[in-house]
């Protein structure tokens, strides 16, 4: 598999210019995600109102996969309910951990489909899912640090 299938243009773009790379002023939930293996470290800030993600942003450092995933995640879940976020996380997790020999199920994934290439790189799955774990911890009010373990 060509490296360009992992590092798709969209991923490179979001790595260089991450969207929602900020703390929303009225954020009322936050989660901290850390991957001890490689040092990826992000904080996700959420403005949650009546079970809806009104606004979301993130801060931190990490590899291209983790940063682009965080950026695209924020775009994806903004305006959605917590229940929708949970389903999206499940679908995303399934996408990046599915059998690389089968055609990926990208129906309804939108831009997140660019992460299908991660399936070929089991060492990088944690990078791709870190921001999702962190967002989930933020909206569910789990205390402590989200880990990818």
């Amino acid at each position: 598999m060509d490296l360009r299938e992992l590092y798709q243009t969209t991923i490179l773009d979001h790595n260089k210019k991450p969207r929602n790379f900020r703390v929303p002023e009225d954020a009322n939930h936050e989660g901290h995600g850390h991957n001890p293996l490689c040092g990826d470290d992000f904080t996700v800030h959420v403005t949650l109102e009546d079970g809806v993600v009104k606004d979301i942003g993130f801060q931190g450092t990490g590899c291209a996969i983790s940063k682009a995933s965080a950026s695209l995640m924020t775009e994806r879940v903004k305006g959605r309910t917590v229940a929708e976020l949970d389903t999206m996380f499940e679908d995303f997790h399934e996408l990046v951990t599915s059998d690389p020999l089968q055609e990926p199920d990208i129906s309804g994934m939108g831009k997140l489909a660019v992460f299908a290439g991660v399936r070929e790189y089991p060492m990088r799955v944690k990078c791709a899912t870190l921001a999702w774990h962190t967002a989930s911890a933020a909206v569910h009010g789990d205390s402590g640090v989200a880990k990818t373990e």
């Binding site: 360009r4 490179l12 260089k16 490689c38 040092g39 990826d40 450092t61 291209a64």
Partner: protein
């Protein structure tokens, strides 16, 4: 004639590479360039052959049978201990087999530390220590009410001796430092550290995991009190490490683990313990790994540690020059005295992404914090990419490293 007495001359890299079957493997359709020996080294056929030979011909439990096979196994185990001692110019009965360097350090922390550290005492480390030479000291210090004190390194990655000397106080009971840093490659001035420490009545433990495979080591010339190294970084098997300690210090230390093999007599009222080294080797020993380690030591001794050091030094010089030509690349660790470790960062590219691009080109390096998070903090980076040399690397491996880094820069430009 033992392999140790057969010198190969000159350093025949093609022949040496052919001794390591894995180097012929291909990764993602590319030949393997293995540049991660500081993490774990590949094994020559001599090691796997020795272990297979043991299990197919000579294996039984050691020190426990009166029959021929047990006697043979015991002799091979004892010979392995002689080799492990010879490598660092130590006395055989002062060498203890452990699982690895980590366990060796934990043994000293738990046995010597619990017995000798009092509330308010200090253990002095350096900023460049591997987690395995930090955490065991934190654990025992916490238990004993003692303190871990840390000597800083400068921007080149060298221990700042003046600061070290200032931190060496009346309460310092032990100094623990790496002979060679796994991240920076820095060769620490162990002899000087030992002289300074001993003048203050502090003992010195040296983590030799990185040094033993690539430098001639003489524990008496270094002047240290404990020296630890691992089999797997020395081209040997994973399950064996070595702890050497001064006889009189080891003699006064209580057991680490209890069990079979480490006792003199056992009653339910009281047990008495075997002399060193048996006192510290509870349970059935890993004779297979010990035999593998012995074969690995014979192998590096046949090549010559000085020749290995020279080979890696020449490659380090070559690789350093190549990396310095790459715009945006920063080498971390520029000590005057260093071994074949090239840690670096590249502007705008996370080390993990560099590692993935290199992997696709068949180049294996380590990326991450290298079990040295405090050192990452010291240099203000979350992680680095690290290429490290072994006795089997050649210029082509480094050329391919550089070509892979350039590919990564192209992708992320």
């Amino acid at each position: 004639m033992s392999a140790a007495q057969t010198k190969l001359a000159p350093y025949d890299i093609a022949r040496i590479r052919s001794d390591f079957p894995i180097l012929a493997a291909s990764m993602h359709g590319q030949p393997l360039a293995y540049l991660d020996s500081a993490s774990s080294a590949q094994k020559p056929r001599a090691v796997t052959d020795a272990m297979t030979h043991l299990f197919e011909n000579d294996y039984a439990n050691v020190h426990r049978g009166v029959y021929q096979l047990s006697a043979t196994s015991t002799r091979l185990y004892d010979e392995a201990r002689q080799a492990a001692a010879r490598l660092i110019s130590a006395a055989t009965d002062e060498v203890i087999f452990t699982r690895n360097t980590t366990e060796a350090i934990n043994l000293v922390a738990a046995s010597w530390g619990r017995r000798n550290l009092a509330p308010g005492d200090e253990v002095l480390l350096t900023e460049m220590e591997h987690h395995s030479n930090i955490v065991p000291w934190q654990l025992v210090c916490e238990e004993r009410g003692a303190r871990v004190v840390v000597a800083p390194v400068d921007d080149r990655g060298e221990l700042i001796l003046e600061e070290f000397e200032k931190l060496l106080g009346d309460r310092t009971r032990l100094v623990a430092l790496a002979h060679v840093s796994n991240v920076l490659g820095t060769i620490n001035p162990v002899r000087t550290v030992c002289d300074l420490a001993h003048a203050r009545d502090a003992l010195v433990l040296v983590d030799g995991a990185q040094a033993a495979p690539r430098l001639p080591v003489d524990v008496n010339a270094l002047g240290c009190d404990f020296y630890a190294y691992s089999g797997h970084k020395l081209y040997g098997p994973n399950g064996v490490g070595v702890l050497w300690g001064r006889g009189e210090i080891l003699d006064a230390m209580p057991p680490f683990l209890g069990g079979g093999g480490m006792i003199e007599t056992v009653t339910f009222e009281k047990s008495t313990y075997a002399p060193v080294p048996d006192r510290f080797e509870a349970g059935t020993p890993d004779v297979g790994c010990a035999v593998g380690l012995r074969a690995a030591i014979d192998y590096v001794e046949a090549l010559g540690l000085e020749e290995i050091a020279r080979h890696e030094e020449a490659l380090l010089e070559y690789g350093t020059a190549l990396l310095e030509e790459i715009p945006g690349l920063h080498i971390i660790g520029k000590a005057q005295e260093k071994t074949g470790v090239l840690s670096f960062t590249v502007d705008g590219i996370h080390p993990h992404d560099i590692g993935t691009v290199l992997d696709r080109e068949g180049v294996a390096i380590r990326v991450g914090h290298h079990c040295a998070q405090p050192l990452m903090d010291r240099f203000g980076v979350p992680a680095t990419a690290r290429a490290s040399l072994g006795l089997y690397n050649d210029r082509e491996d480094l050329d391919r490293l550089v070509s892979g880094i350039r590919s990564a820069i192209e992708i992320f430009a």
